[in-house]
């Protein structure tokens, strides 16, 4: 006797000590059923095959360049493709630092905005407010790039000079005279923070809005002020959401291309190393964007850029894994 189409509702109230009833997964054998199954599993399979093929293609293209590389790929700061002499240290530093700066600026802002919109703002303000934030996400990155490079950067110079004068003794904030006009890693981080703000805000807002009313009422019933209620009920509930939102934002910051390319001054290969955020540089994405079009006719040169792209891919992957781990851990403590 086939149990196709069996429903748990048939057995309510629930059976004791028995696994819940499930269908035997047998189709009705009708044509539509089979076509749908084939289409769905085909789509799933193709995605996996595609990712594997893309990965394989990238690796195969990168290998000849890596073989011909006269510098150590992981420790060299130079990036020259003719002759092949390239390493990722400078790129990795610039990419990671600009993204972290962006995150450090954007996350507190985003949380504050999300809390305001969900907990404090009157209803008539909350909706348009949210829409305005979302609008920021709709601004194309080239606009941020041009605006940042030509409008804001010159105005940011005095701010940077002031920071250098006061905090110049910190290695990260030492002045770098060879980079002028405010086009530094710190400034790119600032522009990137505006770009990732809407993503983090939108997700945080959704999560905060879903804090169970019982948690909030419980806190208030115990005599908590509004701030204490937010601290004890809303924030802990929203934590995993905020973390995953931040990781999404970080992903965007790591991969941002055109805005970084327009804003950040690149530095020549032989430039002295400095820990300062006031240095220039290239990120993985901006390097590839500015050089790949001319390298496309030479697969060995192209391979060098593809190798850099692979590192970015791995970096993004690692960030996502870390985010997943954090979220899984935190989940246990909520609700």
């Amino acid at each position: 006797m086939s149990s196709t189409g069996a429903s748990i509702i048939d057995e309510l109230p629930g059976p004791d000590g028995r696994r819940p009833l499930s269908g035997d997964q047998a189709g009705t054998g009708r044509l539509g059923d089979r076509i749908f199954k084939a289409a769905a599993s085909g789509a799933g399979g193709i995605v996996v095959v595609l990712v594997v093929l893309v990965g394989a293609f990238l690796l195969i293209t990168a290998i000849p360049a890596l073989r011909g590389n006269t510098a150590n790929f992981f420790t060299s700061r130079d990036f020259t493709t003719s002759p092949l002499h390239f390493g990722i240290v400078q790129l990795l530093w610039t990419t990671v630092m600009s993204s972290i700066i962006a995150l450090v600026i954007a996350v507190p802002f985003a949380i504050a905005i999300a809390l305001f919109l969900t907990q404090y703002a009157p209803r008539w303000l909350a909706r348009p407010g949210a829409a305005v934030i979302d609008l920021l996400a709709a601004v194309p990155s080239i606009v941020y790039g041009l605006w940042g490079a030509y409008v804001v950067a010159p105005k940011f110079v005095p701010v940077q000079d002031a920071i250098q004068t006061v905090f110049g003794w910190v290695p990260f904030l030492k002045g770098v005279p060879s980079v002028s006009g405010g086009t530094t890693i710190l400034f790119v981080g600032l522009i990137l923070s505006i770009m990732i703000l809407p993503i983090i805000t939108a997700i945080s807002r959704e999560v905060f809005a879903q804090t169970p009313m019982t948690h909030k009422e419980g806190a208030i019933a115990l005599g908590a002020t509004k701030w204490e209620m937010i601290r004890t009920a809303v924030l802990p509930f929203g934590k995993p959401g905020v973390i995953s939102a931040s990781m999404l934002g970080l992903g965007r910051a790591l991969g941002e291309t055109i805005a970084v390319m327009l804003i950040l001054s690149t530095i020549p290969n032989g430039a002295p190393w400095t820990w300062s955020f006031f240095n220039g540089g290239s990120t993985f994405a901006s390097l590839i964007a500015s050089n790949a079009p001319e390298a496309i006719s030479d697969m060995r040169q192209m391979g060098a850029y593809i190798a850099a792209g692979l590192v970015l891919f791995v970096l993004t992957f690692v960030v996502n894994v870390i985010a997943r781990v954090i979220i899984e851990r935190r989940k246990a403590f909520t609700e």
Binding site: T80, W147, G181, S282, E294
Partner: protein
């Protein structure tokens, strides 16, 4: 409060996009005006193409190409030419892949990369490099109070390699008597993207002063000092905004950004960059291609009077014999117009220099030989 901040940011971003649009329309307006004026004074002898042709390649000749296409199609309503500025490398790849009828390139097909052989395989006949547009490279600077500056080849190499770091360096002052140079530090700007301009400029420095610029020519900047900015527009804007800045840029961008351009003294007195002095560099070049393949070797070290040697000869790369005679006829018609003195005379308005008249005749002869 926060909402207000974001609102302000959004407004500024909007303003940015509007000003960008304004730039775009301004340059469009310019090219339309000039093309209609050339169309009006049209007394051309060349014939018109009938079928559409596609081409792609160097961005250095994009402006000249846009101008040529606008003027040509104004003259020949039946013709249609498209040019896609995708970069020289991609342009050659497209040409070899038979996607385009001809390619625009900053350099002739390179035997080191096996390009002539690949192009010959694609065409079924040898491919020819035809110099068409001369792109002078200006050494543009911005020093407060200095509107006239003379540099020698070794001063250029020393400045761009970081051996001279102040504008009042005695070596610069010795060549500029009567000019009061400030003690401003020199800020070198270079192209952060791979570019033919960088390639040619580093080739120039390596040729004229190998002790101060020992690295060979490269599309990416090999210097040890300076900061990189994207594209010609980026370096032009950066110099404009920086007191003490210096860069190398295509002439048109130096004009657009209203930058001062250094005069060059190669040994026979200071030479300013003009269409004539740049054109003379082509006249002084030696032909390295055989027959109708007119690839050139520029003589950077020339000491002849009145020559501005830092120029970029951009080529159109064509098949000597096309498989499809219609394509051949259309390519011929368009290039004949482009090489005509009628069109070459208008090139200065887009920041390119015309080919010298004697050389135009040579290019015309090669175009007529295409079949």
């Amino acid at each position: 409060m926060n909402t207000k901040r974001i609102g302000a940011a959004a407004t500024l971003a909007l303003a940015g996009s509007l000003s960008l649009a304004a730039c775009g329309s301004a340059s469009n307006g310019g090219s339309t005006t000039s093309s209609s004026s050339t169309g009006a004074s049209d007394t051309a002898s060349s014939s018109c193409g009938t079928a559409p042709i596609k081409s792609s390649g160097s961005t250095a000749q994009q402006n000249a190409m846009d101008q040529a296409i606008a003027a040509y199609t104004a003259k020949c309503a039946s013709a249609k030419v498209t040019y896609n500025g995708v970069g020289s490398g991609q342009g050659i790849t497209d040409f070899i892949g038979k996607q385009t009828a001809f390619a625009g390139s900053d350099s002739a097909l390179s035997p080191d990369k096996g390009e002539p052989a690949k192009a010959q395989a694609a065409c079924g006949s040898p491919a020819w490099d035809l110099p068409m547009v001369v792109g002078p490279i200006a050494v543009a600077y911005n020093v407060k109070g200095v509107s006239k500056l003379t540099l020698t080849p070794d001063l250029i190499a020393k400045i761009f390699s970081g051996k001279i770091t102040k504008w009042d360096d005695p070596a610069i002052a010795a060549r500029n008597s009567g000019v009061s140079l400030p003690a401003t530090p020199i800020s070198v700007f270079f192209r952060s993207d791979s570019s033919g301009t960088t390639d040619n400029f580093t080739k120039y420095m390596n040729t004229v002063d190998p002790t101060d610029w020992p690295t060979k020519h490269n599309k990416s900047w090999d210097g040890k000092v300076g900061q990189g900015k994207p594209k010609s527009a980026g370096v032009g804007q950066a110099v404009q905004a920086t007191d003490g800045g210096i860069t190398y840029a295509e002439w048109s961008y130096a004009i657009v950004n209203k930058l001062n351009m250094a005069e060059l003294d190669s040994g026979a007195g200071p030479v300013a960059l003009t269409p004539e002095t740049a054109g003379k560099a082509i006249a002084a070049a030696t032909q390295t291609g055989t027959g109708n393949d007119l690839s050139l070797k520029l003589d950077y070290k020339t000491k002849a009077a009145g020559v501005y040697p830092i120029v970029l000869a951009t080529y159109e790369i064509v098949c000597s014999k096309y498989a499809d005679p219609t394509v051949a006829a259309n390519v011929k018609a368009f290039l004949t117009y482009m090489a005509s003195s009628e069109f070459q005379g208008t090139l200065a308005s887009v920041g390119s220099a015309p080919l010298p008249p004697a050389f135009q005749t040579k290019v015309q002869a090669a175009i007529q030989a295409i079949s």
